[in-house]
Amino acid sequence: MAEVKIVGLTKYFGDTCAVNHLDLVVKDGDLVVLLGPSGCGKTTTMRCVAGLERPTYGDIYIGERRVNDLEPRERDVALVFQSYALYPHFTAFDNIAYPLRLRKTPKEEINRRVTDVAELLGITHTLERQPGLCSGGEQQRIALGRAIVREPVVFLMDEPLSNIDALLRVYMRAEIKRLQHELGTTMIYVTHDQVEAMTMADMIAVMNQGTLQQLGTPGDIYDVPANNFVARFVGSTPMNFIPGRLRQKDSQTVHESDQFVIPVGEEMAVRASEMCPDGKCTLGIRPEDIRFTMSDEGRNQAQVFLLEPLGSETILDIEKEGLLLKAKDVATTQIRPGNTLSLSFDRFHLFDDATGQAIR
């Protein structure tokens, strides 16, 4: 059990900067998800913590120890690889027992601990088999078992669920989270799947192009995104963006775009005038925050051109003068393609076009 502290981590591969001055504290017992698109530096960050890469600049602490110069085996962290990286020539039992054997654990204890872990993960029946003869889900669990069995101070997970089928993934997601809570071990979990991040994390660190964009609880990340990248990346139906500028109209501030005129609250207008004096900003709104009525009245009208029924709800694809929006409605919606809707926008975010930062 330990806290992981990353201070000013910078990693170059040749001239390419993979991680740029990253500061991150993972509290003891927390599950922190590093989330970002491929190539954003999340895996590199994790490999630096693991000791498989040396930071170019910056320090990494596990507990009280600065671990920059320690070999992976001296750090007492366990890593589950995306490919599982099981030893193909060992049986599942030997795979799980390997870290214990290297630590010269007595034989009876190895037997006991491997059996316990196998039981915990429900893979007792695979123990005598080689990994090649096990299913993807079983391999995944063997890899987890190998990480758990030695009771490390930190777990590192490198997209462990991306190679198994969708149904099993949903199940394993919960399984890993349950395990982490039961063991109480600090975990850093790398993924590009925002659903995985939202469902599992205590804290999410969103990364892009080697820099940390936002660190927060899943709720914060979703409801109060720090910038337009985070807003765009998180949410299974992506946020709608409406480019435009702020204007004074009838003694009220409005966000005016080619398509819509949307009134902006007083407080936000004040902040916007401070942060973004030229007024050029993009309005972002989540699909579920777009309200609509079936009427031809009102300023902000648009036409539905497609329905995407998802079973539990329906996504409405709305178009106005080249701008596409997605809104959500109940599954039994009466709206049909071709209907004209009157839209209203209440909860939304404004992002400064110059910096991409959220105005709040």
């Binding site: 498989l52 085996r73 366990a78 690889f81 490919s83 990286a85 390997y98 290297l102």
Partner: protein
């Protein structure tokens, strides 16, 4: 077909109709494919038999010659089976202490193979796993390829001059050193491909599990590539066993000669005892055949390791 036709009774019959005709069509197509396949297979078999014939007949002929009597040898048309088999040649060859040359060959080929692998395995590992500047690795590997492609005769004379300056001509260990050096480039090339096929993840997993780098190589990497390693060792051994040009320059007394040179030494200036030369030649082929037959499973797996991925 029937399932989709089920919605409409009218089209049901049509559906069945078309499905049966489709079935027949399919059978025709399948039969044609099968015939084509058989033809292809037959062709492959014929070619393989021809290749086997091409390779095996000379070997048979050499073995046959070693037990033929003089009369059979001189007979025209040549006889495919000996009418009066003799073992004179075999007696002679062992009287001439060919056994010593066999041992020489075994020692030289064996040690050269072992030393070569001892150098090549770490070199290939470094070339694939260490994060060295790409250009540097590229140049070194290209140079090594160049060395491997160089005909041995090109280096034989300069090496001989060097060897005679150092006074190490006509020694077995000189051959061991030379074979080691000359084969290392080839071995690194092949091993490099093999190492690249083993995902780095597996080794890194071992590091994370608490192993040292050396331990990870010994416990994880080498067992994984053992079949390839083994077939490369066999190949190297056969190269060394058969090597002629270098040995021709570097050994000249009967007690240090390797088998290929010893065979040549059986050919005197004026008369040629075909039986003796053939007997020696037969002996030279035996280990190669044994290696090929007992290890063919390994050899195929090892040589295709890179292809299969």
């Amino acid at each position: 077909m029937r399932a989709t036709g089920g919605r409409d009774v009218m089209t049901n019959e049509q559906a069945i109709d078309s499905s049966t005709s489709e079935q027949i069509n399919q059978e025709v197509v399948l039969a044609a494919q099968k015939r084509r396949l058989n033809l292809k297979k037959a062709l492959v078999v014929v070619v393989l038999y021809m290749a086997a014939f091409w390779t095996l007949v000379p070997m048979y002929w050499v073995a046959l010659t070693s037990v033929k009597s003089l009369r059979d040898l001189a007979h025209i048309p040549p006889r495919l089976f000996p009418t009066d088999p003799r073992i004179d040649a075999w007696v002679t060859i062992f009287e001439r202490r060919i056994l010593e040359n066999i041992v020489n060959s075994l020692v030289v080929a064996g040690f050269a193979t072992i030393f070569c692998l001892l150098v090549a395995v770490p070199a290939a590992y470094a070339a694939t796993r260490m994060r060295l500047p790409l250009r540097f690795v590229g140049i070194v590997v290209a140079l090594m390829g160049l060395v491997a492609l160089l005909p041995p005769i090109a280096s034989a004379i300069p090496l001989y001059l060097l060897g005679s300056d150092l006074g190490i001509i006509d020694e077995k260990y000189t051959l061991i050193i030379l074979y080691t050096v000359l084969n290392t480039a080839f071995a690194v090339w092949v091993l490099r491909g093999t190492f690249m096929d083993v995902p780095v993840d597996v080794e890194e997993a071992a590091l994370m599990d608490g192993d040292t780098r050396f331990g990870a190589v010994r416990r994880i990497l080498l067992p994984l590539i053992f079949p390839s390693l083994f077939s490369i060792a066999i190949l190297l051994f056969i190269f060394n066993w058969n090597e002629y040009i270098i040995a021709l320059y570097f050994v000249n007394s009967m007690s240090t000669m390797t088998l290929p040179i010893a065979i040549q030494a059986q050919i005197p200036q004026h008369e040629l005892d075909w039986g003796v030369v053939s007997a020696a030649g037969t002996i030279a082929v035996v280990p190669v055949l044994v290696a090929a037959f007992t290890l063919q499973r390994f050899l195929v797996r090892g040589l295709t390791f890179g292809v299969a991925g």
